[in-house]
């Protein structure tokens, strides 16, 4: 058994930012991650990070309004204000720590345009911003000497009388299971992309954190809000960043028509993501697609510009679609990208469970509401990662460990033994694929009542099947087969909460678009859907949206 003041689950941007803040506060901090920190999914972020810097003539209020409008007025405005106000400090802090960032002629940080915003306020490192920031935070963690349990897998949170007092985790390399006590646990375990097939997300994005927190008594919020990104490659689902459109790319249909001019005359290709994805899907559904895709065209930007600012994207298109974007347009389609919802947390990271905090994609402070703006997620991870770190450290200073011993690991040990003894023959790969395609079909860009009902019954069959997954690998050493099986359990739980939330929302808002109820209904639905676990079933309640200065209006781009 190990003891720490603050234990952080996840070493992505949110987790490492939290770890730095908590370390600075002078408490004993450890981070646990199922992959080495630099392998975390934050490295996939290509486009950039938003901040309204006043010395660049920008105003955080404008950023806040763009975010609120982007969220289709489901975002909580008090939280959005905090995020946008603190954005500048966070970006500058990253620069001071060593992030290189592209510059302007004066050597100051340069910006690019991003979707749904009237100002160029996206700071970037070529098209690998996430990787650049993630590596810098890792460097700072090394410098600070914070302890990282690298390649340890969290199996469950330990909850006693409604409080969280630690975790049970497994050393992937040896299979050893340990209990770790902590006065505060920060959940920063990232998103759930793999619940959908295909997805832009890495294979490790399996919703572990949402499921773990949910089972420990925390609530999930906005789970129906699943972002489809407008530009993903067919088949693999690999992302072509919004940076391409930010730099001026066109979207074309089979008639070589820039169709966004018709749908969003002002913002065109740079309307909010939910809007652009719907327009593309409409073009495709109405027969103006090409093989289920539309085209992304950057040729007019010129080869030099493309290789300077979009080199990574160009490589991706070559590797995964066999297309040189400097010479031909690349076929793209909407693809699952981001979960706006997550573990319900306040602006200090506190969940409903004392001792448990949440930050980053796993959390829902509701700064993204119904639709996240591009480049607001990296910002969310840093701002709320830092705040959670500060507040968790504060709690740790004023509490003591719960009385927990090694027996807390018993249920997980038994569960793993049971899984290893399963001899029925369902493969986790097949089940995940079936779940993912069902989610795409019934909870994708367009949703509809009877289709969602069908999706829900498919899910319950899938849950049945998952009981009899066969784990072929019986060893203790790096048993990835066992890990996938455990992750499958987490994913199914997330899928259920998405499905039940989506089924419940009887309007269209943000990413949740129902063909049978196409209008936004502010009268009844300016509220969040909150799901909690009640005897193994999702139980739904509601919470009003926080509105400060901006009253909801018709959303046009």
């Amino acid at each position: 058994m190990y003891d720490h003041d603050v234990l952080i689950i996840g070493a992505g941007l949110a987790g490492m930012r939290a770890a730095l803040a908590a370390t600075e506060a002078g408490v004993n901090v450890a981070v646990v991650s199922k992959v080495h920190p630099v392998r975390s999914h934050s490295n996939a972020a290509q486009g950039g990070i938003n901040a309204a810097l006043t010395d660049r003539g920008d105003d955080w209020r404008d950023h806040a309004y763009d975010t609120i409008k982007g969220s289709d007025f489901l975002g909580d405005q008090d939280a959005i204000e905090i995020m946008c106000r603190e954005a500048g400090d966070e970006v500058i802090a990253m620069e001071h720590m060593g992030a290189i960032f592209n510059r302007d002629e004066e050597g100051r940080l340069g910006t690019r345009n991003f979707g749904g915003q009237r100002q160029a306020r996206t700071f970037f490192v070529a098209d690998f911003t996430g990787q650049a920031l993630l590596h810098v935070l890792y460097e700072q963690i090394v410098k600070a000497g914070a302890l990282v349990y690298e390649e340890w897998f969290v199996l469950s949170l330990i909850e006693r009388d409604g409080e969280c007092g630690g975790v049970v985790m497994m050393d992937i390399r040896t299979g050893k299971i340990e209990v770790v006590r902590a006065k505060a646990v920060i959940m920063a375990a990232g998103g759930l992309g793999r619940v959908f097939e295909p997805s832009t997300n890495a294979m490790i994005c399996t919703g572990d954190g949402m499921s773990l927190a949910y089972k420990a008594g925390a609530s999930l919020m906005d789970m129906e809000m699943v972002q489809y990104h407008p530009t993903t490659l067919k088949g693999s689902g690999v992302l072509i960043s919004e940076a391409a459109r930010g730099e001026g790319a066109y979207l074309l249909n089979s008639e070589n028509d820039r169709f966004m001019l018709k749908y969003a005359p002002e913002f065109k290709e740079l309307a909010s993501r939910d809007v652009v994805s719907r327009c593309e899907q409409t073009e495709i559904n109405e027969g103006r697609g090409i093989d289920g895709c539309v085209l992304l065209d950057v040729r007019h930007l010129g080869e030099k510009y493309i290789s300077e600012r979009l080199s990574q994207i160009r490589e991706l298109a070559m590797d995964f679609a066999n297309v040189d974007m400097a010479k031909e347009p690349v076929p793209i389609m909407p693809g699952m990208h981001y979960q706006m919802g997550g573990v319900k947390a306040n602006v200090d990271g506190e969940t409903g469970v004392p001792g448990l905090y949440a930050a980053g994609e796993v959390a829902c402070v509701s700064v993204h509401g119904g639709n996240r703006l591009g480049a607001n997620s990296l910002l969310d991870t840093l701002v709320f990662g830092r705040r959670s770190g500060v507040h968790a450290a504060e709690r740790a200073k004023n509490t003591s460990h719960l009385s927990i011993d090694d027996s807390a690991a018993k249920p997980d040990r038994e569960n793993i033994e049971r899984l290893l003894l399963n001899d029925k023959n369902e493969s986790f790969g097949k089940i995940r694929f079936d779940m993912g395609t069902a989610m795409k079909e019934h909870f994708g860009v367009f949703r509809e009542n009877s289709s969602m009902a069908e999706g829900i019954s498919k899910l319950s069959l899938i849950k049945e099947r998952a009981q009899s997954v066969y784990v072929a690998d019986k060893t203790n050493t790096f048993n990835t087969n066992l890990l996938f099986t455990l992750e499958l359990g987490f994913m199914i739980e997330c899928a259920e909460t998405i499905a039940s939330s989506a089924f419940d929302r009887t309007e269209s808002r943000g990413a949740h678009t129902r063909t049978d109820m196409p209008d936004r209904d502010d009268e009844n639905w300016l509220k969040h859907i909150v799901v909690s676990d009640k005897d193994g079933k999702p139980n739904i309640s509601y919470q009003d949206v926080v509105i400060t200065d901006w009253t909801p209006t018709v959303r046009q781009y």
Partner: protein
């Protein structure tokens, strides 16, 4: 298309702990990557296969391994490009120069230790400015070429020096060191360059180019090491074997137009370094036997002035 893969398997818990190759036959799409093939094996054929992978798009650095004997990322290597023309199997092995844990999973600890040893964090001087540090865009764009290193370990896997000398810092850590030395905001160059001048540092690279060839991100670690050598010497660290070797090399060519191989070790190690001199005796004897001892009298090449003119030109340009 039909694809055969021969994958090196190793299970430390099995009674037979000798690594062996296992062959798999798959039906794959033309666009499939080697990683797709391995995932298909793991999901549909043989769940016991262990490997690391995550992003599928050459950014997380998890899936470096050897494909047909050369390191690379499984996720950006197309099956169709890796298929041997004689119809035999694609050979998949774990990354080299690191201990194998299981199947294709290697122990990265030595790699991280190397990276950590170069103090991999920005060390600026003085008070932080209120806003950002000002820095020219070109400098940052230049650094972006190194910062784009995803720490996948492909270079370390195939480094020919690490194969024989585990003290070498290795191409990835040295490229990372260059990233800080080259950063106009970093103020620890003095300390950094001094450390890089030590044994295991920049002088241990043999310039075999392997790291440049296998790097999936175009980081060109060896070029960074060569730049570091220059910076080390510019910083006045000329009194090590490596630096003296470089100076002696240049002096010899400038003077005679070609390399005086007899003088090179003397100048590199120092004539009074008896231990090093004695250690060279076996090499001298072997060279003698093979008829490879250079002439005792080192003559200038004809028209050596032209060589000297090249030197002048390069130096004036600096």
């Amino acid at each position: 298309m039909e694809v055969k893969l021969s994958v090196r398997r190793y299970d430390p818990e099995s009674t037979n702990t000798v690594p062996h190759f296992q062959e798999y036959q798959l039906e794959m799409d033309e666009a499939a990557t080697v990683l797709d093939a391995l995932i298909q094996i793991r999901e549909d054929v043989d769940g016991t296969l262990s490997l690391r992978c995550s992003c599928r798009s050459a950014i997380c650095g998890s899936c470096a391994m050897r494909v047909n004997g050369e390191a690379g990322l499984a996720c950006n290597t197309k099956v169709i490009d890796a298929l041997p023309s004689d119809g035999t199997a694609i050979v998949i092995e774990p990354a080299g120069n690191l201990p194998v844990i299981k199947d294709l999973v290697v122990d990265f600890q030595p790699f991280w230790d190397q990276v950590k040893s170069i103090e991999p964090w920005l060390q600026p001087a003085g008070e932080e400015p209120e806003g950002e540090y000002l820095a020219p865009d070109e400098d940052m764009l230049h650094l972006a070429g190194v910062v784009s290193c995803i720490l996948c370990g492909a270079c370390v896997s195939d480094c020919t020096v690490l194969e024989v000398d585990s003290n070498f810092l290795g191409p990835a850590a040295l490229a990372k060191a260059y990233r800080f030395v080259g950063d106009p905001r970093d103020d620890a160059d003095g300390k950094r360059l001094k450390a890089l001048n030590e044994e295991g540092g920049v002088w241990d690279c043999t310039r075999c180019m392997k790291c440049v060839e296998v790097c999936p991100k175009g980081v060109a670690p060896m070029d960074r090491i060569m730049s570091l050598r220059e910076k080390v010497m510019d910083a006045g660290h000329t009194n090590t074997n490596g630096a003296r070797h470089a100076t002696a090399f240049v002096d010899s060519v400038r003077h005679s137009g070609w390399l005086d191989e007899l003088k090179l070790p003397i100048k590199s190690f120092g004539i009074f370094n008896l231990k090093a001199m004695i250690s060279l005796i076996p090499l001298a004897i072997r060279s003698q036997r093979a008829g490879k001892v250079p002439p005792l009298i080192h003559k200038n090449i004809p028209e050596v002035e032209n060589v000297r003119r090249i030197f002048d030109k390069v130096e004036n340009k600096k």
